[in-house]
Symmetry: C2
Subunit: 362 residues, 2 copies
């Protein structure tokens, strides 16, 4: 067994309305059943007319570009300076929604194909019709990624094969079940294609031969199978954006107890976290014993019955209006630290018979 990665030279400049299957099929009459075509998304976009006119330079260019970017994006994932990482309408997370100004006139921008899976299917069908070959098609683009410098090519669309090769359920020679081995093989094929495309000038198509055997399987999921839902992603937001979201969450913290017994150590940690920033002499006392707690709670009308713990909050003395306001800010600091520990709270008046000036119901 061996794989080959072959260039498809001679395709030349692609413009709107070009028949990609004819261009590629003509340039590569040697295509065989089972070949995987790796096609740079830009020529697909150009053939499909996914271009917009923009000023060649100046502030108007930036404004026009920003407008196009907003239209191509469903949400901003992270931003720093002029860099915006967004989720595209397709679901891909990438810089500037994949909008590209290279390999095109200075007055135009190239957008991603409208539906790269559909583009791949159309090209596969066109080559079957024109050249009589049963090939898979991967539409590829270049992307950055977190944590690692340098870009790699990955797949935006695919036809004629599954995006992911699933090894789950297989057992290794030692009897261990393979649990984490869903390989994104179309991304690896895109990367393999880039190795030869990046070596040659103006080479938008490569062929990986030997990886698949005809007859190929249709698949309906396409490269959408590669898109992880943001709710499942541990990195759905940039770090700075998520920190800002945490600050906003603190500003609008809900005012209600959790109703489940709070972790005593977590409450102690929260108290320790704010110890250095609250006014000296401020005392936060955790009350966890049910009997003591119910005795205290009974002295305050309207205490939530589902509160499972208390923190008595006492200001330093003497206490005037200015000190009470400061004390309130310190209580809110503690509430926020408790929230960071996953402990919700409700602010309530102090129980009678204590020196507390406020209480938090946990």
């Amino acid at each position: 067994m061996r794989l080959e990665i072959l260039p498809v030279p001679g395709i030349g400049h692609v413009t709107e309305g070009d028949d990609l299957a004819a261009l590629i099929g003509g340039a590569a009459p040697w295509l065989r059943d089972g070949d995987v075509l790796v096609v740079t998304s830009k020529i697909v976009s150009k053939a499909e007319g996914r271009l917009v006119d923009v000023p060649a330079d100046g502030p108007d260019r930036q404004a026009a570009r920003d407008e196009v970017l907003a239209a191509e994006s469903v949400r901003v994932v992270a931003a720093r300076g002029t860099t915006q990482i967004v989720q595209t309408r397709h679901g891909f997370v990438m810089a500037a929604a994949g909008i590209d100004a290279s390999n095109v006139d200075k007055t135009r921008l190239v957008l991603l194909p409208e539906d790269p899976d559909a583009s791949a299917r159309a090209l596969r069908a066109g080559l079957r019709e024109r050249n009589g070959v049963d090939v898979a098609v991967v539409i590829s683009d270049t992307m950055g990624r977190p944590w690692r410098n340098g870009l790699t090519d990955v797949a935006l669309g695919v036809a004629g094969m599954d995006a992911i090769r699933d090894h789950r359920g297989e057992v290794d020679p030692y009897g261990n079940e393979l649990v984490l081995t869903q390989m994104a093989v179309v991304d690896e094929l895109a990367a393999a294609g880039e190795l030869i495309k990046g070596k040659c000038d103006q080479l938008p198509v490569a062929v990986v031969r030997g990886y698949l055997s005809a007859p190929l399987t249709e698949n309906t999921d396409g490269a959408r199978a590669l898109i992880r839902d943001a709710s499942m992603d541990l990195f759905s937001l940039g770090t700075a954006e998520a920190k800002a979201a945490g600050l906003l969450a603190a500003a609008t913290l809900p005012d209600q107890p959790g109703g489940v017994a709070a972790d005593r150590a977590a409450v102690d940690r929260a108290i320790a976290i704010v110890a250095d920033v609250v006014a000296p002499g401020t005392v936060f006392t955790q009350v966890t014993d049910a009997d003591v707690r119910s005795g205290l709670v009974a002295t305050v009308p309207g205490w939530p019955t589902h509160a499972t713990g208390l923190v008595l909050c006492s200001p330093p003395t003497p206490v005037g209006p200015v000190q009470l306001v400061r004390f309130g800010t310190d209580v809110q600091r503690l509430r926020t630290a408790l929230a960071a520990e996953g402990v919700p709270t409700q602010l309530l008046p102090p129980p009678g018979g204590t020196t507390a000036a406020a209480t938090l119901a946990l």
Copy 2:
């Protein structure tokens, strides 16, 4: 031009102390100058004895594994359930520090090679000595990534070539300078190698032929060139972890004004954000005119001269001790919302002649 991806069958099980250059050189006497060997990190780890003994199952196994994981990690990047994404001692960000329990006895775990670049250099030198060939070596491993389902193989170590191919400064046929085209070619080589390794059982080594030409260049950076410093990374922390960091930042908010004129619209936004959660009747009034401000500030001893704006904070009436504490928590909410807008604040007593009960210096 064409590339070939060739399997190296017949290596068999690798155990501690094995001479990898002898094993690979013996299995592939057909190696040529300029070939790129893609070597699964696991056989490097095994040959180098990077294995630890753990119980085959039960809670002790998990505890032993956690201990190993902590020793292999410098920080936790994100965690959910039993999944931990960490930065390894090498600098790589990956699940479980790359510790693997597959393709090894149930009582052992395989760690990443101690220094994968050094392993690659040693193997390259060994093959030059033994087989007389000038080959590059890529040590590869399988990793997940944010935003995209499925795993791909990437490089942990490299010798005999640069990790990144830099196209910056090149100009496309349309006269546009290529600015964002540092390609992580060793990651693409690792991915290409996996295409054939993943197809065959127990195939830890592949060869990419045709990509490089001898004589190869030594490089000293190795795969370390791929590691992006966390301070430069927009995704240096998981979303949940960064949100928690934001909550913690709110709990320990510094108490000092910014000393630069605050964005008036940002202050208005912060006031609007907390409007629905503060006690009804609470009034926050932004004071930005310098003359009015200096008149107010003059009535409070100790006001910071570098404060560039004020927010007068007035509680609803009537005002008793319980209301003042609640008011303090609401003032702290506003301070937190201002911090989310990038506006630092200091809590101060109210100026004379106003109905405010507190003031924030901006």
